[in-house]
Subunit: 369 residues, 4 copies
């Protein structure tokens, strides 16, 4: 039976992959089983964030040293820039392994990992219903790969999606088709937006028929409680990783999720921790902290400039991007509950959770009771 | 019998004092009784933060319109720049009033406010033991003014202290005396540091004999759990406001404090809330939120670059000051507990709480049961 | 005969108007004659630039002390935030005086100043042809006020224009009319854009019939070589100041202008200096520097990300706004020619000069030969 | 006879070495002869500038593909972060080749390149006279390697120097010796400062006996007109490249230098251009621009906050480092003279030129008359 393994490894710099290297050397990580790495790197998370490129290059070089042929290229590398506030730069490595007889599982369902790649997205579909449909199909494929049938068993969907560049816009122009935007920065937001809605469709959160081009990136009433999207210049298609619970999997890991309705809405996260066996009135105690393997969340500033009736200034600060403010602030709210800040809080949450809020996935190791 | 009143008023801009104006017009605030205003303004909280100057000018003009002679000049205006993350710009107005028979008090001690001004500080004493002693004496005077005898009844000491400028350094040079630093920005930190230690001495937290010049701004083992200092260019002496509990005062307000040992150490704050009658396992409910009139805290990045064993990047970010990171992050941790972000979190916490942590004062209205 | 006077005064802070105060006290400036003050303040020049508000408040208070009734309100105060690079914060005071017999003039035309205020702009016209037409009419009125008939005698048009706020958009919605944008920051750019095109129409640089709504803020082939626009939240109409040469005026001042085709195109400025009697092969000598009373220019990053065939990174820097980069860089290019950096370089140059370039006005005192 | 070759190559990103790759493929660059690469990368040039690390990794990988053994490690890679204003990211490749009979030289002296590596610097010597002496010896070795006897023939000395880290400070502590500073960021400035003074000593600009530890990083009256230092974490010794003129070398290249006394002092640069045959009254014409192969300069904000009698705000801006302001501003001043912005302006000019100014080296190809 397949077993999901998740390794959280500290990074001393964007190019510090020594922790993963050591885990491979010691056998704790089997490079052949690695499906994805989520990295929280210390750049600004914006256009000129070179910490992501440096991290991706370092991870790719590492896995090339340990894998034959182009196996390394198949690993999904998602780098999220921005460790504002006290957040700690780190890697989260997702591995698919197999049960060695005893697996510390409880016999019931266990965390499952599935992966899928879509075809290249026609540039004119980016940020439009065409992308929504393509991603929805991709998420369904990833669910199949994970052996998950019921969409309710899915708790986190990571989508790495393409963006537009001057050259790609020119290619579309050449074919006489129109693109959704000629602003390359905006295309990142639109691609994340359409990808999140695609996940929402696949997970039955939104009816595909209800989504029109005009809704994408504007109608914040439409959102997924489990999607996490990030755009990258290095791909033309979508890389999709689905995390959920499946009876076809074994092992000690379990995953659940919560939806924060605004930047400080931590009680749903506390409730999800309780469902996972980590009930706590206040901050998580150290023992429970060790059982909590990963916290994966999204953050953004509410578009109306209001938080619980009070004005916030994140959208009016021309010196610091609102995405940096939001990561620092939500990171503080979650760290206050969790008890440490080696957590993955990513910005750019279009249609990922309600306006100003976001989804949070939690992975625990049930064997560390 | 004197009654302390505290009014938290939203600000739509650094020069928006309309909320205070309206409260005066409606009689909710009696300008004659106003002792101090703490403002959280939306600038960067650093050298070129003009939101503070704009706010101070607007408040001074407001009170001049409502007070005779130079009464307005006696009001202590402390502007703390930086509402990073979701923090809401707002004013906290401290007023000394008198009991009108029934005062909603419980007969026991109530919140007391005291104020004192020191003599002008010789520039050569700034950031040295001389300033520590002068502030200690000032805090004792403010305690007397508040009718507080036992230092343990003091829960918050706000000190507005001077800084060095090129001209002031020249004046000291002219007298043949040396100043602690010729770096004007550094002088702000040293002045806050010596002021905090002065409060610690007056409150019996540190033995005066234990403090040497070399400790000021360097020996983080020495700290006050109740001091909050901010340096301003507009004064040459110290303006000190003491908040505590006294049997000589009446009214519904009560104050207590907690000390956060690091940026996410919110449990001591939860315990202080419980002592004030606002016990809560999770986030404060809306009813209790209304009873919590003010949250006054300090934040800073730990000097060793570590938070609970994990690396933070606040000190390595050359694009955003660590003070801005820390306010956003600690603001998120506190708002996650309190349930809103109209709170006063100030940076520059030298000797104000342990390294990386800080004091937090809480004021509740017991009549809003 | 009227005489134009221009006073360049250093500012030690956004609220330091002591230099103007002293000039009024000494009689060098007659407050009654002041028509406009252009301020270069040291904020970021963006949404949260509070140095502008602080400067405006300080100047308004100064003139209220020296002028009866609401005369102070009639003075056009244009604050341009951002003294990046080595630029010096300063005020440029424009005064209309009268010839006292001998006026150091050469009998020929002299610098003339004209002013006009338009009616309040209907919000639905902002950023559209309606605003272009209203500004064009306003510029013609200002020319009449200056006694300038030939548009070619106009060398600088400063337009202070309104912007949209949430409330103003709501008012338009209430009347069932559509606004050009619902993004308040964007409305500043659109208002500057339409205002610049309005000046271009009045000056005969562009045929009104050639401008459609769709061109405003997008078609950079349309531009004025003499317009300088800045949007302010405090007005609903346009305040227009025209500077040019007129035989109806006297005095030692003369003005001319140049158009920089890109950020380092300083040779046209050198040629304009020569026309004004300040011919120089290299950097202006100190004597000529004293004769050059004011340098008023606009700067922006070219939208194609290219400068003379090389890539620039101003538009890709998410830490520093391209407007700040452009002011620092163009300020350096102009200061390298002029020999000092107490110059007025303003950002946001939509339709003000060609894409990536901008107009530069030069004012000299011919009596300081 | 040896010939110096200098190739200026555009970079579309910090990891874009395709231009150098193409030059190697076409034979324009012989990888075996490459001695150093100066890179201008688009990061912030400060502590968290990851564009430098990404560029260094990309260049190292490139040369490893083209050179046997560890030859690639011997190439001196100096990455200077920060292309503020309109500066263009680019590489400058320095190659040592040999004369193929006809070499377009004029028979007289030609540009010479020399290189030297010092021994590892004891950490306690960093920022002290010990480092000055070690660098002085290294510069003399590099001059010998270049065949330059007279120090007056040296026009540019690039020194890559080490810095202190927590571990290195601990190593020194372990040996019971003291380091000059425990602040790792400060150690970069001290290392650049001592390195620049070392070059000044070797070039006869300063008498070694005149330099005391206390002068390093504080006494700005001591400076070199030809040194350019940059600190890097990846080395423990010094990599030194000397550029000058030598009769032992041949080829079309010539080099000269100028010293700017402040940020806009471009006339000395104009004079140096004239000495190199590029005399120009205004901005360089396009033909001369092609002959000017490289411009290498240093920039910084004057420590007194004054530029030609006017206040600058570079040191008071807490949102943007003064080094970024200075590069943008000086870059503009030089680009206004040169006519393009693909120039190398580096920050951190301690003792490299007078306070607020800096040295500028110019390399021309005399064969492109």
């Amino acid at each position: 039976m397949p077993i999901a393994k998740v390794h959280r490894v500290a990074a001393n710099a964007p190019d510090d992959v020594s922790g993963i290297e050591a885990a491979i050397a010691s056998g704790r990580i089997n490079a052949k089983g690695v499906i994805a790495v989520l990295g929280k790197t210390e750049g600004n998370g914006l256009v000129n964030d070179f910490s992501r490129g440096l991290a991706t290059a370092s991870l790719a070089a590492l896995f090339r040293r340990h894998l034959p042929g182009d196996a390394a290229e198949r690993i999904c590398l998602v780098m999220s820039g921005g460790t504002e506030g006290g957040m700690a730069p780190h890697w989260t490595v997702f591995e698919r392994s197999v049960s060695q007889g005893v697996d510390n599982g409880d016999g019931g369902p266990a965390m499952a990992i599935g992966r899928a790649h879509t075809f290249a997205l026609p540039f004119e579909d980016l940020g439009r219903v065409g992308q929504v449909e393509q991603v929805a199909a991709g998420v369904r494929n990833a669910m199949m790969d994970a052996g998950i049938v019921d969409p309710n068993d899915v708790h986190f969907v990571q989508i790495k999606c393409p963006l537009l560049t001057a050259q790609r816009i020119a290619e579309a122009d050449g074919r006489g088709v129109s693109v959704a935007t000629r602003d390359t920065l905006k295309s990142m937001g639109l691609s994340r937006a359409a990808s999140a809605l695609g996940a929402a469709v696949a997970l039955g959160e939104i009816d595909a028929a209800a989504i029109r081009d005009a809704d994408i990136g504007t109608n914040w009433d439409l959102w997924s409680g489990r999607a996490s999207a990030s755009a990258g210049i290095e791909l033309l298609n979508h890389e999709i990783v689905v995390l959920g619970m499946s009876a076809a999997w074994s092992g000690p890991l379990a995953i659940d999720h919560a939806v924060m309705c605004d930047a400080i809405d931590i009680e749903p996260v506390r409730a999800a921790l309780a469902r996972l066996g980590l009930a706590t009135p206040g901050q998580l105690c150290e023992a429970d902290r060790r059982r909590l393997i990963a916290v994966l969340g999204k953050a953004e500033a509410s578009h109306d400039g209001i938080l619980r009736g009070n004005r916030h200034t994140m959208l009016d600060d021309s010196d610091i991007s609102s995405t940096r403010h939001a990561r620092a602030f939500v990171g503080g709210a979650l760290a206050g509950l969790i008890g440490h800040a080696e957590i993955y809080v990513s910005g750019g949450a279009e249609h990922q959770g309600p306006d100003g809020g976001g989804p949070v996935a939690l992975i625990v190791d049930r064997s560390l009771a």
